[in-house]
Symmetry: C2
Subunit: 429 residues, 2 copies
Amino acid sequence: MPNKRVALQKQIHEWIRLHREEGTDFLQNLVKIPSTQGNEQRAQFLIADKLLELALEVDLWEPVGEALASHPYFCSPRHQFTGSPNVVGVLKGVGGGRSLLLNGHMDVVPEGNRAQWNDDPYSGQVVDGKLYGRGATDMKGGNVSLLLAIEAIQSIGIKLKGDVIFESVIEEESGGAGTLAAIVKGYKADAALIPEPTNMRIFPKQQGSMWFRIAVKGRSAHGGTRYEGVSAIEKSMIVIQHIRELEVERNARITDPLYANNPIPIPINIGVIHGGNWPSSVADLVTLEGRMGVAPAETLDSAKEEMHQWVARLSEKDPWFEAHPPSVEWFGAQWVPGNVDPDHAFMQVLMAQYRAVKKEEPVIEASPWGTDGGLLTQIGETPCIVFGPGITQVAHYPNEHIELERVFEVAEIVALTIVEWCGCEGVEE
Amino acid sequence: MPNKRVALQKQIHEWIRLHREEGTDFLQNLVKIPSTQGNEQRAQFLIADKLLELALEVDLWEPVGEALASHPYFCSPRHQFTGSPNVVGVLKGVGGGRSLLLNGHMDVVPEGNRAQWNDDPYSGQVVDGKLYGRGATDMKGGNVSLLLAIEAIQSIGIKLKGDVIFESVIEEESGGAGTLAAIVKGYKADAALIPEPTNMRIFPKQQGSMWFRIAVKGRSAHGGTRYEGVSAIEKSMIVIQHIRELEVERNARITDPLYANNPIPIPINIGVIHGGNWPSSVADLVTLEGRMGVAPAETLDSAKEEMHQWVARLSEKDPWFEAHPPSVEWFGAQWVPGNVDPDHAFMQVLMAQYRAVKKEEPVIEASPWGTDGGLLTQIGETPCIVFGPGITQVAHYPNEHIELERVFEVAEIVALTIVEWCGCEGVEE
């Protein structure tokens, strides 16, 4: 009955077309809530309400407990999540189909310097088809695509065979403790999709990353006799150059064609430098903080080990480092890399629905940044693809926005993907 | 009457030998007062008392007024000196002799991290002939040498021909506003001596210095796509290297034999670096702060101009700097370089007294740091030599101390120098 499938596609397309205003309103309401870390509650209650309205089984909880806190992949600046609930909604299938996990984070990064915004950072204002505000692109727009897809399916009365698990999580922006909490609680599926802002590209692989801090020692002296000291600032220049060479070496190993368009697939970015405390003293300590990209096929541990061994080799460049080896520590956030075979069955289903809706070939790449997809794939036993409507370039920036047209396109692609992946009664496999 | 001179020398030697305990007590009392910037009053009152006791004309005032504040060489982090008086004592000669200005600063740098001190930083404790405490070496020990010299002359009843002007000033550690205030008030003489901690070396020339701040711009981007940004940290490495080359060029011009033992006569020290604010962002701004050494024969303005022109040439090394030239500003403290001819008559007198007391040739060098001597020489029309009992290496450091033996030796050398330079009744020229 291919005609039945075509009819369903039309129904879904039509339902979404007719509910654009409601979708836009809901996204506006979400963006108007500044759900930065620690302030996610109101937005999550809004999501929970919507899930109840859609007749899903709702699970709302504040992550807590030893199993989470002691998990080797637990990474968060906090250990208390009071006022920061996760929300999960489960749409049970009738059985006999594949399950799908749909995951999006509700936390947003702070708005930064308000002077750089043309409007209130949480306005949700729509201008020329674009909806503005912190989180519009990263990633409340993607979350609304997911909810619209589920609502379309429920409204049309499609009976899915496999389960759909919708997760609205906290803490993605600071290391994934929200998604990890859902994994620890037992949520998993045969495949997962996260609609992070990919510019409509499909990322079966995602770069992981983690933060490091390197302390470079010197020896203090008066600036007028600086030759009596050893400048940690000058030594840090050697360290920075050395790290640059590690980046070159690591990237030379990346041959994955998904990274063909990326000049540095797994960058090592030194983003912060602090050293010295007096203009006329020789600095005796410089601290470097940065982000190390981790390849999809790597583990965080192997990348860490390579950094430690590389830094230990600094003494080959300058004997100073023999007696004064820089220390390397890992702190703050980390994102596990994601790595799903581009030939995975779920990729094929997703790509086919993309073609059906967009009438063009999807762009398949590996993401230059980490998402919660790495945790789902590597820890949660749920192969995860990242694909979403947001604009990569404006994520975390002033005047963040999203094109509403993309939100509705992704809603349609996701709805079709759910139907194809989970299967539904009345439509042949 | 050479015998009369020899007898006088013996008297001075003997008087100082017999008053070592009083000298030590007085230095202890001074060191026990933490006379950091803004807290000089108690120590200055103690000095004023001593000067009155020695029958000098005492002038104690808090620097103030338009003539000081608008002076082109006024340099201070503050414009109010309430509670921070200067003290000057004048010992009028009977006439017909050369005048001498003796200058020492009463401000001390903060004690820093107390955990690095073996004892209370203001203990004044004496162990094995060394007196400990912040300011002992830099430069209350030298000031006590001056006062002992004057006291010896007064006690013995020597009638000087020329005037002796003793100045206990504030603010040397932050740019010399105390000495400048005394200059503006009209104090000057035929020569000057400052007993800064020189390890008993004689410095007819002193390196000047001033603080600069260079802002290096980049362009922000996410660390995962760092190639989309321009790292201000990487650009700052080019700037640091460029400044290092300026240092080489400037020092290649220094041929003064007084700098023969100094590997870098006029260093440029970059002491502070700050840049970036997020490990996984490309830094868009790095700030460098440093100290530029200024040669005795240079002016501050010509050195500033050379730095500006040099930094402007960065675009030859990297086209980025064409559209994004680093800015250079001058801030905080500055010290005018000092430059007295080693053949100056006062040098000859001082060296002769050194030989008489120490029975060895003095070491003549150029100082690797600035003092108030530059202001006296260049602005105050008073050629100034720097020579003192303190230990260069412990100035500004934890466990600062001075060898008391040196304090008494310098007292004796200064007393003889006063007699020889100013002349006295009953001793032939």
